[in-house]
């Protein structure tokens, strides 16, 4: 399979603190990668740099052969990279349908997006996506009235409509109770494999990471701790990853 992400010795500092130091790895198209590691390991920092929220201090990120620093057109970038975080990402005051159709904003002009707030445009996209995440009946509900798990499904529906090649998910289920967390995670992984997307998700839970992902990248203190297929990750690996004493 073709390489889609190439991370080459990237570093990032916050004032005196090192968030990531000289990290390198590559991801192939269609891979499902879980990012694990103790809190403060640098997972969010890495995902934000992959999503071009901010650039690395040193090193380079290449997406499909193109420097991420050169992908300045936000609309084109949205076709390539999509992000999902915790449920605060939605506009609670809008009806569900508009939060979902926001995934079309990269294709729409200013007029069409304005008209759509009155008469929803490309409505089929929204209904299909909401059907896929099991929220067909909530089309016109106010988003803030939905539960945390439902809101995260709406965010998934937006991502379905946006349909990027790479999906970056930062703790997508952190604020959900275990049962719902697993539902949403399963949905995220299933959608990614059906749509042939490349998925990189940071997770608190090693258990979920092993269960749903092909490959685990572990970070600790801003460095790569291990990068293994989930089947070859042993309990000892995990113990050392989360132990406080170990300094790698």
């Amino acid at each position: 399979m073709a390489e889609i992400i190439n991370v080459n010795r990237i570093s990032k500092n916050y004032e005196r603190k090192i968030a990531l130091s000289s990290l390198s790895f590559t991801v192939e198209k269609g891979e499902l990668v879980a990012l694990i590691g103790p809190s403060g390991a640098g997972k969010t920092t890495l995902l934000n740099m992959l999503g071009a929220i901010f650039p690395p201090d040193q090193g380079e990120i290449v997406i499909s052969g193109k420097q991420i620093a050169e992908m300045t057109d936000q609309k084109k970038r949205a076709k390539k990279i999509g992000m999902i975080r915790q449920q605060f990402d939605l506009v609670g005051e809008l009806p569900v349908i508009h939060n979902v159709l926001a995934g079309r904003l990269s294709d729409w002009g200013v007029m069409k997006s304005l008209v759509s707030l009155l008469i929803p445009q490309d409505k089929d996209y929204a209904t299909a996506a909401l059907d896929r995440v099991g929220l067909k009946d909530k089309l016109y509900e106010r988003t803030s009235k939905l539960s945390g798990g439902e809101q995260q499904r709406v965010a998934l529906a937006r991502l379905l409509v946006q349909s990027p090649e790479i999906v970056l998910a930062d703790e997508p289920v952190a604020s959900l109770d275990p049962a719902r967390a697993e539902d949403v995670l399963e949905l995220l992984v299933n959608i990614a494999s059906e749509e042939k997307q490349t998925l990189i998700a940071s997770l608190h839970s090693v258990e979920y990471a092993r269960k749903y992902f092909d490959r685990l990248i572990a970070l600790k203190n801003g460095e790569l701790f291990f990068d293994l297929p989930s089947s070859s990750v042993s309990d000892d690996h995990i113990k050392r990853l989360y132990s406080l004493k170990e300094h790698s």
Binding site: Q74, M83, G103, S106
Partner: protein
């Protein structure tokens, strides 16, 4: 360094409070506390006015006049507010800096528009009214502009503050989904501030009705004008009728505003 600055701030506040306290005390001395404060006939007049409260003039003629004047007052307030909302929208969006990217641009744009909003509201609507009457003469437009400018300044300022305080996660997410600045305004900023700005604008509309009532001296008629006429004729019972209509107007707007707010927040 930081601490020094903090304690200086604290001192500054204490000194300011002291100066304000002294100013208030001084102002008490400057009032001449003698019988001239309330003129001799004053008490009798006050009694008459007070009694008239219980016997407002409810004759058909006065009621129709009051209704007409209420309509005039309301329509000028509405016209002024509409203009104020347009001013507030454009200046508020500009002054919030949400449409420009880059810290440097923001630092340039924001103070520029904020100071213009500051200028509009620094001058009271009655002063604007004088200025407009002096320049365009006694005309309803004088009253409408006089209302629109300071109200636009106040609303624009509040609107800009609200836009700046919007939680950033949903906006970032919209931008990550490929939304332009303008699209982020429609889909993020405006829906998020809609309920609070509507409820604040309704409160301002209430204030505009009261202002519009007393602005009758620039020649727009209305409740204030009728109150003044009745006062000159010493018809205090009519005065109260008009005052009651003004109160009813404000209460009606308040009820409408509650209705709107409930619908927006639901």
């Amino acid at each position: 360094m930081e601490r020094n600055w903090m304690s200086f701030e604290l001192h500054k506040r204490k000194i300011l409070s002291l100066i304000l306290g002294l100013a208030f005390a001084a102002s008490l001395f400057s009032v001449e506390w003698n019988s001239e404060l309330i003129h001799n006939g004053g008490l009798t007049t006050a009694k008459q006015i007070g009694l008239a409260f219980f016997t407002p003039d409810l004759s058909g003629e006065i009621l129709i006049l009051a209704l007409e004047s209420s309509w005039t007052t309301l329509s000028y307030a509405a016209a002024g507010m509409s203009l104020a909302l347009i001013i507030a929208f454009f200046f508020g969006v500009a002054a919030s800096g949400v449409m420009v990217s880059g810290e440097k641009n923001k630092r340039l744009i924001k103070p520029f528009f904020r100071s213009q909003l500051g200028f509009m509201r620094a001058i009271h609507e009655l002063v604007w009214a004088w200025l407009f009457v002096a320049s365009i003469g006694l005309s309803p437009f004088a009253a409408i502009f006089a209302l629109a400018i300071p109200y636009g300044g106040i609303l624009g300022r509040i609107f800009a503050d609200m836009l700046e305080d919007v939680p950033q996660e949903p906006i970032r997410a919209l931008e990550a989904a490929g939304a332009s600045k303008l699209q982020a305004l429609w889909y993020g900023y405006l829906p998020m501030v809609r309920a609070s700005i509507t409820s604040y604008a309704m409160y301002r509309f209430e204030c505009a009705v009261r202002s519009s009532a007393i602005m009758s001296f620039v020649g727009i008629g209305g409740l204030g004008y009728q109150i003044q006429l009745s006062l000159d004729d010493l018809h205090y019972d009519e005065v109260w009728t008009f005052v009651f209509f003004l109160i009813i107007l404000v209460i009606l707007i308040d009820a409408w505003s509650n209705q709107l707010r409930k619908r927006l927040i639901q």
